[in-house]
Symmetry: C2
């Protein structure tokens, strides 16, 4: 019989989780007391929180037969939270994790989740970071909440509100890959029959790889505004534009170049890859604006420019025409 | 028809929540960007996280007819998290809050929850503190996760592991009140028929009042160990004793004095009030140890002493006899 969470008391479950988590210098005092103590830089801490709920934010079972592993869920919870610190120009110092688990949850699944959390921290995090503490609760559905703390290596955070007319709009990281992976998971081709390229896209959906070193680098390079692309390029660019009181004009050729690597998979699926590029989220790349005279840091690609906003100006356009999340409605005029 | 969460989009729901939350100087940048920025003291941040799940950690409907309000749930979520910072000797600087809500949740209940969060911060918090950010998710059950950040006004945190043989064991805050309130909620007397004293105990269960100024005061007064009593005096004293490698002997007369105010309600219920005092949790008072030659700060009551531990020594005893969570089993020998 498979061991489930309901078979163990809290202490026994924690004893299986803790050895899977590494220490770090940032965490002066880890799990075991009323609270943890996290070292930072200066007197400011960057903080964010995010919850993933089973069947809402993640599925255990997909249409094509793929089963989300605990590793996937743990990785994604860590990655997307660390991305929020990255998007402020910060480095992650600590995560605190609250797990709500039905008693029927296999213990092995929870151990796998801990491994996924730790793997994301070890493989992605640019700074020194570890899980500082957490909480276990019972519930009817699996829910994973991560609160993430970060330090600002530069003196100032980069907000989404600082874009200026004339700035270059640039992107770093994957774009459209997670959306393509999601499309494949929702399709009918079972995981074992996917091509290596298709499997790679599924992997980037299941275990996104935000460019966690790039945020502080962009901040040091003079980025005027920054956010992470979690809900899709057009939607997140609109947020940046609105917060900054400007508009963003994306470059047709730059987008086409980004879409090209997705063309083969998209073509086989009968999908325009721009749909994934413009509307898909969860890649957690960085959308930045830089003053036009600043050289872009390595890894950043110019994809547009900041233009004047206004009531009658769409917040995001592509080659001067209003963009939508599917991207091309207005090109069909 | 009652407006529910499913009737609003995220922005509209947030627009109803934000005006209910106050600003503070500790939060340099609040909700609206990828992450929040919290000011602290020095380079260290104290952090903890805790989730309350509907029907596990709180009930919406009690046996005696009481209905937990959103205000209750918000208050309790804030209070018990802030208590963890208090128990390190820290002051709370910021909360980040993640709400998982079924679409059928009344919007008024969520607004009430925001009011409860803010009221607990305003009425209880010793320091300058506010809600710095949060997250909204859909789910099948209500779940409230709070991660709390704090600063250490003293140079060192007070851990649960520092108790020394000969130290005085002291307590600050309520003890047994929440357990008495819980007992009344589980009883058959409807809320309207409770005496004012009984209603006061229900209130202390629904909206606990941890002594949030007392943690930093105890730290400054030289407390050698400290934790908050969330799971009951005997259970939490055992944790402190085990972490410190000592044992704790509670004083019979001191416990009797603490039990006396509960005697009337307990007597009417046919319950020994020591059961509530020793086994009941959720009052979130502070259990501290102080060197014997240190005067106790205001608000602290001596309830025992630290004695040598050992394999054959029970971690917590009362007048030299092993204590249990119900307290008196061993007195029936």
């Amino acid at each position: 019989m498979e061991l489930t969470v309901g078979d163990l008391d809290e202490g026994a479950l924690l004893a299986r989780i803790f050895p899977r988590l590494a220490d770090s210098k940032s965490v002066e005092l880890g799990p075991g007391d009323d609270a943890a103590i996290v070292r930072g830089m200066g007197h400011r801490t960057v903080v964010s929180i995010d919850t993933q709920v089973q069947d809402q934010d993640f599925r255990l079972q997909w249409n094509n037969g793929y089963r989300s592993t605990g590793f996937d869920v743990g990785w994604k919870a860590a990655a997307q939270n660390m991305s929020d610190i990255n998007a402020m120009g910060g480095t992650t110092t600590a995560l605190v994790v609250s797990l709500t688990l039905p008693p029927s949850t296999p213990v092995a699944w929870v151990e796998d989740l801990a491994d996924g959390l730790q793997a994301a921290i070890s493989e992605l995090a640019a700074g020194d970071c570890s899980v500082a503490g957490g909480d276990l609760s019972a519930g009817r559905e699996i829910s994973v909440t991560v609160a993430v703390l970060g330090a600002l290596p530069g003196s100032e955070a980069v907000l989404r509100s600082g874009a200026k007319v004339g700035d270059v709009v640039a992107h770093c990281g994957n774009l459209g890959c997670a959306a393509a992976g999601w499309w494949l998971l929702e399709g009918s081709v079972p995981p074992a029959e996917l091509t290596p390229e298709q499997s790679g896209l599924v992997e980037l959906f299941a275990r996104p790889r935000p460019p966690l070193a790039a945020g502080p680098i962009a901040a040091a390079a003079g980025a005027s505004a920054m956010l992470d692309v979690s809900d899709g390029l057009v939607r997140d660019a609109s947020r940046l534009a609105r917060a900054s009181g400007v508009a963003i004009n994306l470059d047709f050729a730059a987008l086409a170049a980004l879409a090209a690597p997705l063309q083969k998979v998209a073509g086989a699926a009968g999908v325009d890859p721009h749909t994934w590029l413009l509307g898909g989220g969860e890649d957690h790349g960085l959308l930045c604006t830089f003053p036009a005279n600043h050289p872009l840091p390595d890894g950043f690609t110019a994809i547009g420019s900041v233009v004047p906003g206004g009531e009658r100006t769409p917040p995001v356009s592509i080659a001067g025409r209003a963009a939508t999340t599917s991207g091309w409605d207005h090109f069909a005029d």
